[in-house]
Symmetry: C2
Subunit: 420 residues, 2 copies
């Protein structure tokens, strides 16, 4: 089997054709064994009738630990300021099931009566309009698969001087991917009639925090969506039920949930939310206030931090890459700490501003290894090293962290967060 | 606004650009109204803190009626023979959330201990092998979005001489769409080493029914998957937890759930499942035994049977199309019972053997209308009329029904199942 790059990364095509196996029964697993007794004892569930059909399915009871991780690092904050991360290291593929989509809210998850909820479009428009959910259901809708990522995703790696030995849910779980369906905001804005001096839209949520953000009218008209459905069904309460703004590629906080007001203005509002937690302090003392687009990023999910390898041998390395700037063009993987790199395979089709799954086979020889992934997007942007990222920002900045994620593998198989 | 075809079907491009609106405030909704008092009374949920974060999200309580429809038409069958349909008319986009993926089982939903479950590959192979779940997790995986459709989807329209006035969940809900992730069966078969005389694979499930089907080895090697994940998370119990076979485009029953045995043979097994319920009797007295591929099909989901239109005016017609033979090439919609047809827009990207969402705007003038959709796939196959479909099969056949679905709209807005 021909190595593809240092540290044991392999050429998938040769591998999968079997030609490179050299006639031996190479296997990815220590857990595979030849069948000695073809007649095994029948397990109980093959012998008794199972359960009846049900209206709404749930995961198997044995998967109860596959859940969002609740962050409790800010003990001084009220319970209503909460966030929970997607357990990326327990998922496969590129879609996030609705029950595991990450959530961040500043005033708790509101329980909104969808029949009472209204969306108002007003300000610098010819005809201020108000919509209820039933009326919006009649509009033409579009569906697109997009990630949403919290601006603060990766905050621990951003601010901690030593790498914390935690899992990927904690290190990068504030990103999820779904098929969103809703009404293009351009249709609603055209019905209201935006006046020529209307350049910004102030979006306000109906939650207790009244979260509000200023959005350029160009983004609203280009691909902004009033999202009503998430992976087919109605948007979940913690993702904005009954309606939210979707701004593909923009930081999560701007995709205002439970949206109730869109006010067209000539200037941004400089709201608390955009002037405070969602501005990015730079190393030189300046502050980036409107850093809308999320950068290109990738993480290896299998293996990843806190996992233990099951002995030397063949493994399928797998991970996720995404960029707010467009489509993922390339993901390189290194198994020797960056000395050599190999191109991973990308799950097809690669969609713009969507999580993209990458895979590459790896033969681990049992010696210490450092795994890295480095994504490049269709705009030509490549992930920085952590040192380069830190050099740009003030030490306190937690936003827009997109540096290369490293995992150290020790000879006893332990996988841990590392700074490359 | 220029009509696109008879009965009020409109050209989306002109419509969305607003240029065709003729300067008037055309709207899709009677429920939209101009804002008179900009300061409305604040609803309660904007004034009190919301709920805390949680590990696994659920739909809003107000969506409790968005659930699978449990079929109870066979009162003489035991509860373990059950099936439930996806409420297609309540969903948008092309993905089916895991909780609403249709289910059919012949022996109930088994409760399998994933640590005890084994998959055996044996028969005409060099090395009979047995896999547990942990060992399979180490393999290279692929992810693909594919529909699964029960061979009997549409059975009511197939056998009832008069159109039944029921919803789309009953008429066509035994089809769903998900991103499936798992190990290509070709890798596992190559490890076992299929002997030259091995031409079929007999797949057996670990449920009480011991469902078993014969699968051509060519399909197994081409794109057969041992699926372990569904929309990211582990496969749900009713979809085969912890593992199932996925055969893109093949009738649902062959995608054996809870799979525990893959036996390579030289001949099909002619199991009860393939010789009985899943054979298709023809009009001429013959029987099609191995009718694997699901035909090209489409349904308008909005509006659809049992819904009521909210008065004349603009509507966004929306629906789903799919084919086991490949990608959807074209969907035509008629609003005048087939006298004229217009091309609907297809949600991009169009994926092979996946549900594909189509949309077209429609101005309903309040007169009686008959809505039809007609899909054509990449192999050039087009849906038959019901009469043509019935002419081919024996009157008792319920399998592979893919005729054009018609909806009649009465002047009072009622939408009902019709035979075109």
């Amino acid at each position: 089997m021909t190595a593809f790059a240092g540290g044991g990364l392999l050429n998938r095509r040769g591998l999968l054709k079997g030609a490179a196996l050299g006639g031996t029964a190479a296997t990815f697993s220590q857990g595979v064994f030849e069948v000695v007794h073809a007649e095994a004892e029948a397990p109980e569930w093959t012998t008794i009738p199972g359960e009846e059909v049900r209206g709404y399915g749930l995961p198997a009871p044995q998967e109860a630990e596959v859940k969002r991780t609740l962050f409790q690092i800010y003990e001084d904050l009220s319970p209503e300021f909460g966030f929970s991360g997607t357990p990326l290291q327990k998922l496969r593929g590129a879609m996030t099931p609705n029950g595991l989509h990450f959530e961040v809210h500043h005033g708790g998850r509101p329980e909104i009566d969808p029949e009472q909820h209204r969306l108002m479009i007003h300000g610098l428009v010819e005809r201020p309009l108000q919509f209820d959910l039933a009326s919006l259901d009649r509009y033409p809708m579009v569906s697109r698969v997009h990630f949403i990522e919290c601006a603060g995703n990766g905050f621990l790696n951003a601010v901690e001087s030593e790498p914390q030995d935690v899992g990927l849910d904690v290190l990068a779980g504030l990103v999820s991917n779904a098929e969103w369906t809703g009404v293009p905001l351009s249709i609603l804005m055209e019905e209201a009639g935006v006046k020529p001096e209307g350049k910004w839209v102030i979006a306000i949520g109906a939650d207790a925090a009244g979260l509000s953000r200023s959005i350029p009218i160009e983004k609203i008209m280009a691909d902004g969506m009033l999202a009503l459905h998430q992976n087919g069904e109605r948007i979940r309460p913690e993702q904005g039920y009954p309606m939210r703004i979707l701004l593909p590629g923009y930081e999560g906080n701007m995709n205002v949930k439970w949206v109730t007001s869109l006010q067209v203005t000539s200037q941004p509002a400089y709201t608390r939310d955009e002037s405070g937690a969602y501005s990015d302090p730079l190393a030189d003392g300046n502050v980036v206030r409107f850093s809308f687009t999320m950068g290109v990023k990738s993480v290896i999910t299998h293996p990843s931090g806190t996992m233990t390898m099951n002995g030397p041998g063949l493994y399928g390395i797998s991970g996720l890459a995404w960029s707010g700037g467009g489509a993922i063009e390339r993901v390189e993987v290194s198994a020797d700490g960056g000395t050599s790199w190999a191109d991973a395979d990308l799950q097809q089709p690669v969609l713009s501003k969507s999580l993209t799954r990458f895979t590459i086979p790896w033969r681990w020889d049992g010696s210490p290894a450092r795994l890295l992934s480095r994504a490049t997007d269709s705009e030509g942007h490549t992930q920085p090293t952590r040192a380069d990222w830190k050099a740009r920002y003030h030490p306190s900045n937690i936003n827009h962290y997109n540096a290369i994620q490293a995992w150290d593998v020790t000879p006893d198989g332990k996988v841990a967060n590392a700074y490359a």
